[in-house]
Subunit: 360 residues, 2 copies
Amino acid sequence: MNESLIAYSSLNDFCKELFLKIGCSEKDAQLATKVLISADARGVDSHGVARLSGYVRLWESKRINATPNIQVVHETPSTAVVDGDGGLGLVVAPQAMEIAIRKAEVAGTGWVAVRNSNHYGIAGYHAMMALEKDMIGISMTNASPLVSPTFSLDRLLGTNPIAVAVPADKQPPFVADFATTTAANGKLEILQRVGKEAPEGWIQDAKGGVSTNPHELKDGGALLPLGSDREHGSHKGYCLGSVVDIFSAVLSGANYGPWVPPFVAFLPLPENPVGQGIGHFFGAMRVDAFRPADEFKAHMDNWITTFRNSRSIEGEKVLIPGDPERWMEEERMTNGIPIQIKVKEDLIQLAAKFGLQHPF
Amino acid sequence: MNESLIAYSSLNDFCKELFLKIGCSEKDAQLATKVLISADARGVDSHGVARLSGYVRLWESKRINATPNIQVVHETPSTAVVDGDGGLGLVVAPQAMEIAIRKAEVAGTGWVAVRNSNHYGIAGYHAMMALEKDMIGISMTNASPLVSPTFSLDRLLGTNPIAVAVPADKQPPFVADFATTTAANGKLEILQRVGKEAPEGWIQDAKGGVSTNPHELKDGGALLPLGSDREHGSHKGYCLGSVVDIFSAVLSGANYGPWVPPFVAFLPLPENPVGQGIGHFFGAMRVDAFRPADEFKAHMDNWITTFRNSRSIEGEKVLIPGDPERWMEEERMTNGIPIQIKVKEDLIQLAAKFGLQHPF
């Protein structure tokens, strides 16, 4: 048996206790847990409890502040810059998105750039916070450099995801959430575990040549921007990753490009930082700042059903962004969340270290 | 000789006279010309004077209103919806972007959704309007359906471009401007003219299979979203094209998806329209709504030089988005703009029809 099924509530209790152990407040521990394990529930296994010990190691090496003083350092009617004080991105990000939503309530839209933060879990969680307010939510973050711009040999961009959540009426919401690379790093990790080759177009080797070796990044290779190569539009993926980097970090005063700090604590911090921590960018747009919300949502229903019911390639279905994650969440909330054996062992060690009960 | 070199000023005078002939005001004729031929100057030949007779045919078939009453129909401090009254997108779009900029001056950011418009030239022109105000400019538009979502056989999205312009200090600005497809339709048109095959990954045939035939769209084929296929992230390109469609049209009350009117006047308008005309979406963000503008621009210079000076694949250079178009503009403003023989013949016919002098 390569995995165990763990109930959401058990996973929730375990993570929360752990965040309390590293010194988070009750409220922050609860929030960080909710954000973190939304990834496990939605099937983005690479961003959930699999990363928990990584966060703890960052805290141990004093790169994460468990009791941050998160502050708005600059604002206008529709914008704010938030300093995360080195806190968990899992806590800083939803608070910043909350500020974007409050700005939108008054000004129609709200836009918040965040500096001095850390990895924030799945981009989609924060974008989806806008939905219940009848707002469109936008979320993006930069990340440590694993991606080479078109024709470059240097790794200058992270997988820099973008999420956009749009409310509908009777239909479930439209939720796009994707890395701006051809394949996310999590997919390489899966190939590494099972010992398989990667498809051409995901990675380049140290000289910029085609590679299918999922370990290539250890030998100076890089992930490729969405589009894979110039002929298939990799300059567009490079543009997207760059926009995420600029909005998240150059606007906020965080580190950008090759200066973004690594997620793994064993790697040194880049020298001569150009800002503080990693950066995020959030947007909230009140739908009724444009047209009546019921009108908008009725047309979104029509948009969604038109796309969903279009003719499909034999054996396939046309999906709406957010469909696979929502189906996964329904299934996992009922049947439990599968935890891979390696992740389980890691979490059991973590429990032992902090003297915690565990459900594994 | 397959092309003639025409001076920018001659092209400008000719286009302006033509827009006056179809009934545009002096001011609108000047603006439409400036927007249209910015494409020729910047090397996006498919979106410049090559389309002039297409605009005229839309006017002849009463699908373009040469004297529109462009109005804000709804607004909040940071948003507006503009009704273009069926005007030239070349006129409606810069006016809407102007409104976004004025909103940003007061509220920090401005976001304008436009309905009842037409094709607006190159996305980048409108985004770049923000630069001289030390703002980030964003521009997107939907377009007639040529693109199939991942796994779909139906054409439901346009090439739906996104442009983002970011000011720098001593460095030229960052200007991304790209279709959310693997290849823009203009590139297929070039292959059709020269009788060459398209690379795999640009188009699918009527059954969703791989095709390299640049004429495939006439036989029920479709352009593919950025990413080409599922394994290389076409679902991400589909997400991007969808976001452009939703922001441009579902927010504004324009037509979306398969209902977007065609650019060519010989095709009938889609039945049972779900909105008015085509839609655009614009954003302007004051840089100093986030941090002091001089600080931001100094860091953009550092971002740009870091990326530009990174190690490159042998024989290639790492470019900054906007570099090729800026170099092209410098060259063409000095030496003239090459006009293809077919386009030239088309423009000479147009001149004859309207009794105009021409420089061709």
